[in-house]
Amino acid sequence: MSIIEATDVSITFGLQKRPSLRHVTFFITKGETVLLLGPSGCGKSTLAHALQGLIPRSVEADVTGTLSVKGEHPATWTPREAIQHVGILFQDPETQFCMLTVEDEILFGLENLGLSREEMEERLERSLAYTGLVDRRHEALNKLSGGLKQKAAIACLLALDPDIFVLDEPTANLDPKSSDDILRLFADIARDPSKTVIFIEHQLDPVLPVIDRVIALSEKEGILAEGSPREIFTNDAVSLQQEGIWLPQVCMKALELEKAGKITWPTLPLSLKEWQAACEKQAIVLSPSTETETVPSVRTDAPIMEAESVCFSYKNQTVLEDVYFSIASGEFTVLVGANGAGKSTLAKVIAGIHSPTHGVLRRNGEDQQRMSRAELFQRTGYVFQQPEHQFVTDTVEEELSYGWKITDTPAAEWQQDVENKLDEFRLQEKRMENPFSLSQGQKRRLSVASMLSPQQDVLILDEPTFGQDEASTVALMKQVKQLHDEGQTIVMITHDMELVARYAEKVLLVEEGTITYEGPIAPFFNDRDRLEKAALKAPLSWELERWERAMNKKNASTLTCT
């Protein structure tokens, strides 16, 4: 029997002409674990809200078609009824709470249900134990890291004990280790036959092993494809990709290598484990000799930035201690490390926002502290985590000409540059619009474009992909890559090891206020102990490439044999 039945459901917000969710029909059985896929803007989050009745109960919208959950219409539920049927875990951990401590937040939900004290006590303790938060029961929520906040949010949901869990990209803004933890928790819940779990995720690989069925929404309308993960990624890979839906990395790479004729898979691997088993059957093995194939290129350019014993304290607290590094001109460097290790502070010291309390920072051989702030800021671009923070004018065009105008440059000199930027960053149509009215991706692009100026030789980006969807991450990184190709020195803070593997030339690992690794990418990702210690993980693509090298090696050896 279906627990959720959706027949031709469309949802339209306020004055919008095009529905946000378009003519969707699907059924979900009790106990199933479903992965909901779709290109951005296909209405996945809208659907999540509608399943609980939040749409149209508290967010006004026009819902057509029939949506029934456990044989009832979610729209008719009161908030108190709704939470006993469906619980939602949201993307942003900051805005899910209204109380100060972990315990109070869990109790808030239980009090809403009107439970007795004994019942509350029991549920509270059970959910704390399940999520491993027993020791943090009385801790303030705003002192927790993003990962722990999401765990606390899960504890709240578990205590409320709904039959259906809807997870709306809960790991989107987390570091690799925390997102693994969160997904593992839900894998356990998914195994319970009485619980139905609906994942909306963009990181597909870690969740796939627990997924029973995939439902892919189409960009146009309706359902694009439906079936078990293996079915759907074997049969519909091409149409999914055409719609802008991301395949799991393992599947994507597997299909790519098969197409290139490097290997034939008996069945499409869905996880690294399956991949490994299939490879071993065909006598493809990883060996140390496949590791050293890529020789890291060493930059010989003169250093553009050098730090010598740099320290920085803030309010009597040492944030940075004895930092040494040297960045070559034109290099793409990433700053990685756990939250609170001092990455952002280091970036601000490099940019000249903070001055080091000890030590010397040299820029092109010159002591940075002897340079004026104005000069330093003209030579350094700094892209902030939140694009909106750096908007200073009322239109996109003014935003791009702001730097020119305040330096009193005649308009003739910069008009062409503004036009070029509008084209390059695909903002030409939006030129007269207010920066705040742009979409998320457009805001991000504008914030990078507005930080570029011709005298500039270093561009610093502080987690530029935070809170961005896959498509705008790709668009942004393309732009950054292009700047780098043109010779710009890039320093980027990131948690995303995929980006590190794909774009960076050099890693600076920040741990407890100092740099513990400075060097190329390959040895960094190959040193598992160091990664483990820093709570980092080599990205999946890195692992897969090692296997690809192993395949190449084997193919080469079979060629020479025959």
Binding site: S58, P79, C98, N142, F384
Partner: protein, 256 residues
């Protein structure tokens, strides 16, 4: 720091927050018609002593918090001495060409001390009251609708984030202005991004609260029930005693 003080298991921390709030209001009301020097001075000294003794607040920390208020109080004294409504007759000494009269000093000091009494009682409340407990007490004892009570808590949570965000925006604007700080007229530029993010956060939080079954009605249970107990009775006696002492003692001293 403040959170730790608010959670200490001391006497003042255990008094019902609503009662404490009423006491603060009473103190302010009672002090309004008082113009002598001794009453506010006694009350101020006794209040500080109770914050330290009954609330367990470190004297150094308290002094640090009182410092701006002390300056504020001194400004009252200064205003009375330099720009008196009526020049007093008993000239004590002269600062340059300015005669300083005893009468003016007394009025100024009385006004200043009154401000300090208000400040010290506000601090007594803030330093010994957990926000969550205060909110629960307002809902449970003062019949504040939960809709507002929990809404206030959610807003309170945003304050530190708001401060961090303002710092971020200022830095961002400084870089874009190549090191120039903004003029005060352009301050509205700081507030547009802050407002935009505040509205977005408020919307999301509201939806998240509702998704946890919150409907704003009084029909809910409470894990922590705040009731009247013997601490509250003792506090009532304490406040009455404080008032009696401060109002009778100066009289006795003057009669002597």
């Amino acid at each position: 720091m403040i959170e730790e003080y608010q959670q200490q298991p001391r006497f003042l921390q255990q008094v019902n927050p609503s009662l404490k709030l009423v006491a603060v209001l009473i103190m302010i009301a009672v002090m309004i018609p008082v113009f002598d020097l001794w009453t506010p001075l006694f009350l101020f000294v006794l209040t500080i002593a109770s914050i330290i003794g009954l609330g367990g607040i470190s004297p150094r920390f308290l002094l640090l918090l009182l410092l701006p208020f002390l300056l504020f109080a001194f400004s009252f004294l200064w205003m009375q001495v330099v720009f008196p409504d009526e020049q007093g007759a008993t000239v004590l000494f002269e600062i340059g060409p300015l005669p300083v009269a005893l009468e003016n000093v007394i009025i100024g000091a009385s006004l200043g001390l009154r401000a300090l009494v208000f400040a010290s009682w506000s601090l007594l409340f803030v330093l010994t009251t957990e926000p969550t407990k205060f909110m629960l007490s307002l809902i449970q004892q003062c019949k504040l609708p939960p809709r507002f009570g929990y809404g206030m808590m959610a807003a309170y949570r945003f304050l530190p984030a708001f401060r961090d965000e303002l710092a971020q925006v200022r830095t961002a604007h400084m870089i874009r202005g190549f090191g120039k700080e903004r003029k005060w007229k352009q301050w509205k530029r700081y507030f547009i991004p802050l407002m935009a993010s505040a509205i977005r956060k408020a919307e999301r939080t509201a939806v998240a609260m509702e998704s946890k079954g919150f409907d704003g009605s009084r029909d809910r249970s409470y894990y922590r029930r705040l009731t009247w107990n013997k601490r509250d009775m003792q506090f009532l006696i304490f406040v009455t005693a404080l008032l009696v002492i401060t109002f009778l003692l100066p009289d006795l001293m003057i009669r002597k």
